[in-house]
């Protein structure tokens, strides 16, 4: 009987961990999906955007010794600006060129950012000082949710709501969706398509930076590790559907759960492989993903 209870607790613990990690994956995939939706570009530098966020926060907290909320805010603003700059400098000159060039460019950007980060910070593990109050943790019977997970879930849900409202009701959000839907038509109505591209890069970088910070809090920051986690957006978005924002979140949660359950019940070494197994499987049976847009055909 006691054994059964312990099992149940283990299960619930994994469930909670999986959900909060998954939410994080989902959020980081959201940035990826936004770029894809508005400009059909697959951003291979996504993992590096996460890493940049994590390290910017590290610099601000440990070297500049800024208060945490302030450092968090500055990191977000910094990432947002970085997204704008990247679009302006590297992506904009390629507008109108074949997509494969643009995608190769993001591969190049990824190497460049990674190289620069390794140059500055080296390949070692850095850690943030412990700043989250223990009071944030949730004890639920024997289940213990560490403060990081609680904080990341709260931030994640807040951001999701904000983005949901932004896309549904704000003019800029509606223009972004219109560009994703039919670029020529939105041009004909005077939508500033280039600004929309820039904005989607900026928001993507912001969300990525935020995910980077949370990942850094959980595992410490290491250039190789965080940028590898960035690659997990691929199974996530393919599972959810490349062009579905809701799908990105749900895909993220599913991958997060799969990972923690595989790690908990089968083998921790299989943990990082399972998303890619799912990726291959999903591509075989449902290439549009769970929530990918199926073209509306009027007959």
């Amino acid at each position: 009987m006691a054994c059964k209870g312990a099992n149940m607790e283990f299960f619930l613990q994994l469930l909670v961990n999986g959900l909060s990690v998954g939410l994080l994956y989902g959020l980081s995939a959201l940035g990826f999906v936004m770029i894809f939706k508005s400009s059909s570009v697959l951003n291979f530098a996504h993992g590096e955007l996460l890493t940049i966020g994590a390290f910017l926060f590290l610099v601000l907290v440990t070297w500049a010794r800024l208060p945490i909320p302030f450092a968090f805010l500055i990191t977000l603003i910094g990432c947002f600006t970085l997204g704008f700059i990247v679009e302006r400098l590297f992506l904009r000159p390629l507008i109108g060129e074949s997509l494969i060039y643009v995608i190769m460019l993001t591969v190049g950007l990824a190497s460049m950012f990674k190289g620069l980060l390794l140059f500055v910070f080296g390949g070692n593990l850095h850690t943030y000082p412990d700043f989250l109050p223990e009071g944030l943790a949730i004890h639920f019977g024997a289940i213990y949710v560490p403060p990081v997970y609680v904080a990341s879930s709260i931030i994640g849900i807040i951001f999701l709501l904000l983005f949901g409202l932004f896309f549904k009701y704000s003019p800029q959000g509606i223009y972004m969706r219109s560009v994703a839907d039919n670029q020529t038509a939105s041009l004909s109505l005077g939508v500033h398509v280039k600004k929309v591209f820039a904005l989607s890069w900026a928001i993507a970088a912001l969300v990525a930076g935020m995910s980077g910070i949370v990942l850094g809090i959980i595992n410490g920051t290491n250039v190789h590790e965080i940028s590898a986690i960035g690659l997990k957006v691929f199974p996530v978005v393919i599972l959810g559907g490349l062009d579905s924002i809701g799908g990105a979140i749900i895909g993220g949660i599913i991958i997060g759960l799969l990972e923690t359950f595989t790690g908990g019940y089968i083998s921790p070494s299989l943990r990082d492989v399972i998303p890619y197994i799912v990726l291959v499987f999903i591509l075989l049976v449902k290439p549009y993903g769970l929530f990918g847009l199926v073209e509306i055909e009027r007959v």
């Binding site: 109108g96 003019p171 800029q172 509606i174 223009y175 969706r177 219109s178 839907d181 039919n182 670029q183 020529t184 038509a185 939105s186 041009l187 004909s188 109505l189 005077g190 939508v191 500033h192 398509v193 280039k194 847009l293 509306i296 009027r298």
Partner: protein, 267 residues
């Protein structure tokens, strides 16, 4: 006289991808508050002319290589669509092109892109007053609406921008005759009530000439004929080749050299 003219095309040539010449010296003038209709067969260059005005050539790798487009005293050839739309020129694209995954009302809101800081509620009501059929569908995804509804939607979407010059590309395409009538009636009303100048590209020459003040006929990238809509309607060539009412209603044969020559001049 001249300050009555809103838009003037002076002998413009348009080339796609640096090699394919589509327009070979097109000149036309559009008076304020007029409906000007642009007729011609497929591939005559009507759509290209509209795109040259609205700046939408650029994304298709097209360019105005010669001549000038003067709108309200400014020359606007080869400007970016973002700039041109903000001067009040809005094009309604051929084949409707709604935002399929946005609702009707969200589609209309995209029309506010040129002036997004200002309130839009009143404009939506204005659009619904022209197109009452849209009201009941306001929450529906545009992808699931009928052709007639979509044509009303894209015209309404353009109206949201308060255009001074509206470029309509084949609004009657693929619509039932009754719907076409309705659409043309509304175009006329918009022209009168909103004081919007309109350039109307049409295959349906008969309908177009009924509501237009002036008309141009294009063939092969050139203007081959122009005149008051009334006169064009009575012109024997237009009658024969566009309105389909040949003299005596008989099909002409190529042996009839005179008709053949006349036809040839146009092609």
């Amino acid at each position: 006289m001249t300050n009555n003219i809103l838009l003037q095309l002076n002998n413009i040539s348009v080339v796609y991808s640096d090699v394919i010449q589509v327009l070979k010296g097109v000149s036309l003038a559009v008076k304020k508050n007029h409906i000007v209709s642009l007729l011609g067969s497929n591939g005559a260059g009507k759509t290209t002319t509209l795109k040259a005005i609205s700046g939408l050539l650029k994304p298709e790798n097209g360019k105005v290589t010669e001549g000038s487009i003067v709108y309200d005293g400014m020359s606007i050839q080869n400007s970016a669509p973002e700039t041109i739309t903000r001067q009040g020129i809005i094009q309604v694209l051929e084949g409707r092109q709604p935002f399929k995954y946005l609702t009707i009302e969200e589609n209309l809101r995209v029309g506010t892109a040129t002036r997004w800081t200002r309130p839009y509620k009143k404009d939506i009501e204005m659009v619904y007053s022209y197109f009452p059929a849209l009201v009941t569908r306001r929450k529906a995804l545009a992808g699931y609406c009928s052709g007639g509804e979509l044509q009303m939607l894209v015209m309404g979407r353009a109206l949201m921008a308060h255009p001074r010059l509206l470029l309509l590309d084949e609004p009657s395409l693929g619509l039932a005759p009754l719907v076409v009538k309705e659409i043309f009636r509304i175009i006329k009303r918009i022209n009168k009530e909103q004081e919007t100048t309109i350039i109307l590209v049409e295959q349906n020459a008969n309908m177009a000439l009924q509501i237009a003040h002036y008309g141009y006929v294009m063939e092969n990238g050139k203007i081959v004929m122009e005149g008051k809509a009334k006169d064009l309607k009575e012109n024997p060539d237009v009658k024969e080749f566009y309105l389909g009412v040949g003299a005596g209603g008989m099909a002409r044969s190529y042996r009839d050299v005179k008709s053949y020559r006349r036809r040839k001049r146009w092609l």
